[in-house]
């Protein structure tokens, strides 16, 4: 199962390429994501309290709730950590050395294979469904209620909002262009369970996706995509997000030449773990908010 929540939050980096890539999306939701890391800092920030006695009670209750598997927080954290667990062939260590410098995409081309549209479509679909499931494990609501999740999307903020922004830009807009939702729905809709079961992201989190068998799970993914497509379209339109301005913003941290844009999505996929990073923050936030309400 997932790591202990306080350990997971303590392990979050204050800087690094994931953090920079997410900061490149700040213009999409200015100031929303503050990248609070460390268990003590997170408890203080979420509760708004500073009294050591109160903070100690909150931490104790939060860990107690987390440690009870039936509460769902462990499953949620596991989904966020696992959905991002690709084989990081680019080497996170190599990234660490480059903190402070722009990463030259050119230096990693031989290690990146641009994904076929179908693979990219399924990846986005599975990550989205992972988000629905993790959200429900964290916050409750019936486990397969997409309607409730879509309603909650409108209230997403902080780490949850930046994660959805990254999902639809890094995993949607950048690799597939402005018509990405239609492409994704077409590919998933016309794909079969064979395509689904071959998808590496799906294989990792298959057991926690609602649905009795792979047919049901594929159906759930299709329905989720349809339900979220309206939100995704509005999110992009309202904030004036384009593929070009996302890439331009990423250029603060990555040297990207125009003839190598095909490799950018693959690079982001292999060099960031934004689902795990912000997902950990979101689970912690809900857990701590509940703990202070219950002490």
């Amino acid at each position: 199962m997932a790591t202990a929540i306080d350990q997971a939050v303590n392990a979050l980096p204050a800087d690094g390429f994931t953090v920079r890539a997410l900061k490149a999306l700040d213009y999409v939701a200015p100031g929303q994501w503050q990248n609070i890391v460390g268990w003590d800092s997170t408890v203080a920030a979420v509760t708004g309290e500073s009294d050591p006695g109160v903070l100690s009670q909150v931490k104790q209750r939060a860990i107690e709730l987390y440690n009870n598997p039936s509460e769902g927080y462990q499953r949620a954290l596991w989904i966020y950590q696992t959905v991002d667990a690709t084989d990081k062939t680019l080497g996170m260590a190599a990234m660490a050395n480059k903190v402070g410098e722009k990463i030259p995409l050119l230096g990693f081309l031989t290690k990146i294979t641009p994904k076929a549209d179908k693979t990219q479509a399924f990846d986005l679909g599975v990550k989205l469904v992972g988000e629905v499931a993790a959200f429900c494990y964290t916050n409750g609501l019936p486990g397969d209620s997409i309607g409730d999740f879509v309603a909650a999307l409108a209230a997403y903020e902080n780490d949850s909002l930046i994660r959805m922004a990254a999902l639809i830009t890094f995993d949607g807009l950048v690799p597939l262009g402005p018509d990405f939702m239609r492409t994704v729905m077409d590919k998933v809709g016309s794909g079969g369970t064979g395509d689904l079961t071959q998808n590496a992201t799906f294989q990792r989190i298959r057991d926690l996706i609602p649905g009795g068998g792979d047919n049901d799970k594929l159906g759930f993914i299709s329905t989720s995509l349809q339900s979220v497509s309206g939100w995704a379209g509005s999110f992009i339109a309202e904030r004036g997000i384009t593929r070009e301005n996302v890439i331009q913003s990423l250029r603060q941290y990555v040297e990207i030449s125009d003839d190598k844009l095909d490799y950018l999505a693959g690079f982001l996929d292999l060099s960031t773990d934004y689902m795990a990073h912000t997902g950990t923050q979101s689970v912690a936030r809900s857990l701590i908010s509940r703990a202070i309400s219950e002490i």
Partner: protein, 178 residues
């Protein structure tokens, strides 16, 4: 499985919000530093027949939702968490989050009752106490804790007290077996 599309959900939400806000659109926004005038409060949510909970079983979160104040009079109440023994919502006014409000079943966390034993305050006859610097809580029926936590400097202790009073405390007392 029936799945409402996001747009149609938004349409329903927009229509119901407009209906609720019509009654308040000619008045000044309520001053949430003090208790809101009772006459302008929207009607409580329908609670139906409240049966007392089993004294030995933690209540389902869904049973607590009905007790929350409804949206209206310039503010929006959105549920954010619902687990066994716990339900939580956020209150947004003029686009700003002002409070997080919750009900928890102390059967799941009996230590929470200890602070009420020495509480000197009361709200609507229920023992009341501060929770840190940002929260105010009461204990209803020796069972359910209602807490309001400020999310904006504009909501002070008096404002939090006003929000506690907006819960359907009579129904909650009946749920506790009182």
């Amino acid at each position: 499985m029936k799945v409402p599309l996001f747009r149609s959900f938004l349409g329903v939400l927009a229509a119901s919000t407009m209906l609720i806000m019509v009654t308040g659109c000619n008045e000044n926004p309520p001053d949430y530093q003090t208790q809101p005038p009772v006459s302008k409060a929207p009607k409580p949510r329908p609670v139906g027949n409240i049966k007392p909970v089993d004294p030995n079983k933690v209540v389902e979160g869904s049973a607590l939702n009905k007790i929350f104040p409804p949206s209206g009079a310039g503010y929006k109440v959105t549920y954010t968490q619902e687990k066994k023994g716990f339900a939580q919502a956020e209150v947004v006014q003029d686009g700003k989050k002002i409070a997080i409000i919750s009900i928890s079943d102390t059967l799941a966390n009996p230590e929470a009752k200890a602070k009420f034993a020495t509480a000197t305050g009361s709200i609507d006859g229920y023992p009341a106490t501060a929770v840190g610097a940002q929260g105010t809580a009461i204990l209803v029926g020796d069972r359910f804790q209602v807490q309001v936590r400020s999310q904006s400097p504009a909501l002070n202790a008096a404002g939090r007290e006003g929000w506690i009073q907006k819960f359907n405390l009579d129904a909650l007392k009946r749920l506790a077996g009182g």
